[in-house]
């Protein structure tokens, strides 16, 4: 240090560093526990909640500042406080006696203090970085906002000083108004420091900076605590979930019928089962632990007859990475055999090994059932064959019976007819007209029965006859038949249109009968006067040749379509049309024997079409 500096008095030393009148600190007292501050707590609770519902003011432990503020007070001599927006003191050094013992003690002046605080807060809210103002009790305060994360939560006050010598008159008036003791009040007033205004900003910055730091720290601590609690909570939850999942997995794999497993085939050909469920014990009589590193014991259990096929199937699955599906037997040490079904999906691992995930179930029961079923099936087949043979035999018997019965009827019928004729011829004299008429009825009926019997015999023989096979020109046949029918009854004018018809394959004589029946039916049911118009056509559909014979005669009621092809069923009144009623049944029988089918469409008085289809 220079001697020069010691001798001359520096300019700066003559100016007050901070204070014009220095403060004393001993008389100051703590505002935090004051009644009026506690009262502010309820006001705080009414404040609308902050966005994230944290009352920062509650949260941030500004009380850490108290010590600092007090120390600062003792060093610098200025009281400081952090006051929230409702006027509650959150942290503070001790305050001037004039404030604590007088202004804040008296309700009137207290009110003014609170108002002053509020007004100042408001100024801060309006966005100022600091403000200096005169409190309503005459002292000067200075404040700076504390903004945490964009929220203006409180203000830092430096207060209770004067910028110039006090206005005695003002304070006297105040004293008198409030009834303060004159000497005590004056003494307290004189303790209030006078500070040069230009020092204030830097003090404020220091203090707000510190307050800010502490606030941030508190907030960070809080947040960390919250996060930690949250993480802890999550860990607890996750652990529970995990436990539940593991428990479930364990439960499921222990209870599924069979076993679930992982099977690894390493590149050196060795095998292991990194995971195998408890079901392993029942199926391979080994523990899951035994096969974790080496599963050759499992392979050893495979039935020797199935071993190669099983190994080959695994190789194939590994090579082509296709699902493994295989049935095989295992043989236990005591010789007991079980059928197993294995299903697994392979995947190639980074180290070149193949890993399957699969399940194996015991299908011994199923195999046994399968055997029983195929046996039953074979038996069933046999029984069906037997039954069919029985039925066929019974059918044949019935037909034979019908045949011989009908056959045997012909002889007595002949006698009936013959002898009644003889009677008519040779004993006409002893018969009157009525007698002759009666005999005639007898004869007619005998003859009718004869025709019926002949028809039945013919129908039955269509079923027994051996069927020939050959190509048939349907159109040609039809033309022949028409010519025959026309010749047989020249009085009816027949106009029959025959389309180009596909050739058929079958028994010519039988098909001829079919056509003969259908065409003569068509003629029979057509109107007797005028031209008889009939069309014979065809169409090819789905592998069938469908032939049709259409007339424009009496037709029939479609309701009775089902009866048309039955033996002796009639859909017109008895006697209306000649014929025994076997024609269409015969057609159906023949067509069915050829592997075809018949059906009809008609309208009462609107004609009819009979269709028959033959395999093309």
């Amino acid at each position: 240090m220079n001697d020069d500096t010691k001798t001359t008095k520096p300019e700066s030393l003559s100016k007050p560093i901070l204070f014009v009148r220095a403060p004393g600190v001993e008389q100051m007292s703590d505002p935090l526990k004051a009644d009026w501050n506690q009262a502010r707590v309820s006001a705080v609770q009414d404040r609308p909640a902050l966005p994230d519902d944290i009352d920062l003011a509650e949260l941030i432990d500004f009380s850490q500042m108290n010590m600092f503020f007090q120390n600062f007070l003792e060093v610098v001599g200025l009281p400081q406080a952090i006051i929230d927006l409702e006027g509650r003191v959150l942290a503070s050094s001790k305050w001037q006696r004039i404030c604590m013992e007088f202004h804040r003690a008296n309700p009137v002046t207290l009110q003014r203090c609170l108002e002053s605080d509020k007004n100042l807060s408001r100024e801060m809210e309006e966005g100022k970085s600091y403000a200096i103002y005169r409190c309503r009790n005459g002292l000067t305060d200075c404040a700076s906002p504390i903004v945490i994360e964009g929220q203006h939560i409180a203000n830092l006050f430096i207060g209770q000083f004067l910028l110039a010598s006090p206005d005695q008159a003002y304070f006297e008036a105040q004293r008198a108004e409030c009834g303060f003791d004159k000497d005590a009040y004056e003494a307290a007033l004189n303790e209030v420091p006078i500070i040069s205004e230009e020092r204030l900003p830097s003090i404020l910055n220091l203090l707000t900076g510190l307050a800010h730091q502490i606030a941030m720290q508190s907030l960070a601590e809080y947040r960390a605590k919250v996060a930690y609690a949250s993480v802890e909570q999550q860990v607890v939850e996750r652990t529970a979930q995990l436990r539940a999942t593991t428990g479930l997995l364990q439960h499921v794999t222990s209870n599924v019928p069979g076993m679930v497993y992982q099977y690894r085939l390493r590149t050196d050909g060795s095998v292991c089962m990194p995971y195998a469920s408890e079901g392993m014990r029942g199926i391979f009589h080994m523990a899951p632990e035994e096969v974790r590193e080496d599963a050759s014991g499992v392979l050893a259990k495979i039935h020797p007859d199935d071993f190669e096929a099983t190994v080959e199937s695994i190789q194939r699955s590994a090579h082509e990475l296709t699902p493994w599906h295989h049935e095989f037997r295992v043989r236990s040490d005591d010789g007991k055999e079980c059928w197993l079904l294995g299903n697994a999906l392979p995947q190639r691992e980074a180290d070149g090994s193949t890993l399957w995930h699969g399940f194996i179930t015991d299908i011994s029961e199923r195999k046994r059932s399968d055997e029983v079923i195929s046996q039953l099936n074979a038996e069933l087949e046999q029984r069906v064959e037997q039954r069919t043979a029985q039925l066929e035999a019974a059918n044949k018997e019935l037909e034979e019976f019908s045949y011989s019965m009908s056959h045997d009827m012909r002889t007595p019928l002949r006698a009936l007819d013959g002898f009644s004729k003889i009677l008519l011829e040779e004993h006409a004299a002893s018969l009157d007209d009525e007698g002759k008429r009666l005999l005639k009825v007898l004869r007619d009926n005998a003859q009718h029965m004869g025709r019926l019997v002949d028809d039945i015999l013919h129908y039955l023989s269509m079923g027994r006859r051996k069927m020939e096979s050959g190509s048939i020109d349907i159109a040609g046949l039809a033309t022949e038949i028409v010519a025959e029918l026309q010749a047989a009854d020249p009085s009816r004018r027949l106009h029959i249109e025959i389309d180009r018809l596909p050739l058929a394959n079958g028994d010519r004589d039988m098909i001829r009968e079919v056509l003969h029946n259908l065409i003569s039916n068509a003629i029979k049911f057509s109107p007797t006067d005028g031209e008889v118009s009939i069309e014979i056509g065809s169409k090819v559909e789905k592998g069938e040749n469908i032939y049709s014979v259409t007339d424009h005669g009496v037709g029939f009621d479609m309701r009775y379509a089902g009866k048309l092809f039955r033996v002796f069923e009639r859909v017109h009144q008895t006697g209306q049309f000649a014929g025994s009623g076997i024609g269409l049944a015969l057609v159906k029988r023949i067509v069915t024997r050829h592997g075809g089918r018949v059906w009809a469409e008609g309208k009462v008085n609107g004609g009819a079409t009979i269709y028959f289809a033959l395999p093309a």
Partner: protein, 151 residues
């Protein structure tokens, strides 16, 4: 004794009396029944044809001009009679006409196999039956030249 002397023209082998009567009537109408012998079963037919049994005194020189044979016969059935007749040199030349209710293909086939000369199905209707029978009779007795048995 009378039977043996008489010339037999038609041998009717028919078990059903009604059918037999109708047949004979029809033949009578055409005047063809004068020398008709009626036997009622296959055994009797064979006895007559081969002059055995009850007809052993007949002698085989007198063979019928035609045999009308029903197939359904008691004792020995028609097919067997046919067989035997056609199997024996002495009788195989005799014309045999099967006159039967049956229309069965197999009966027809078998009969022709055995050498039947004609196969007729009896119609139920009397008029047709009568016509058939008389045409038959006319043909075999008058139109057809009877076989000459080599002596």
């Amino acid at each position: 004794m009378d039977d043996t002397v008489k010339v037999v023209e038609i041998l009717l082998v028919e078990d059903n009396p009604a059918d037999a009567e109708l047949c004979i009537r029809a033949l009578k109408k055409s005047n063809l029944a004068n020398n008709l012998v009626w036997v009622k079963d296959g055994a009797e037919a064979l006895d007559f044809i081969f002059a055995t049994g009850a007809y052993s005194e007949r002698g085989m020189g007198n063979v019928p001009k035609v045999i009308l044979l029903d197939l359904r016969l008691p004792k020995v059935n028609g097919m067997d009679v046919l067989r035997q007749v056609k199997a024996d040199k002495r009788t195989q030349a005799i014309p045999v006409v099967v006159l039967t209710s049956s229309k069965e293909d197999r009966d027809v086939a078998e009969s022709y196999q055995l050498g039947v000369n004609s196969f007729i199905s009896k119609p139920v209707e009397f008029d047709a039956f009568a016509k058939t029978v008389s045409e038959l009779g006319l043909y075999w007795l008058l139109v057809n030249h009877p076989p000459v048995v080599a002596k």
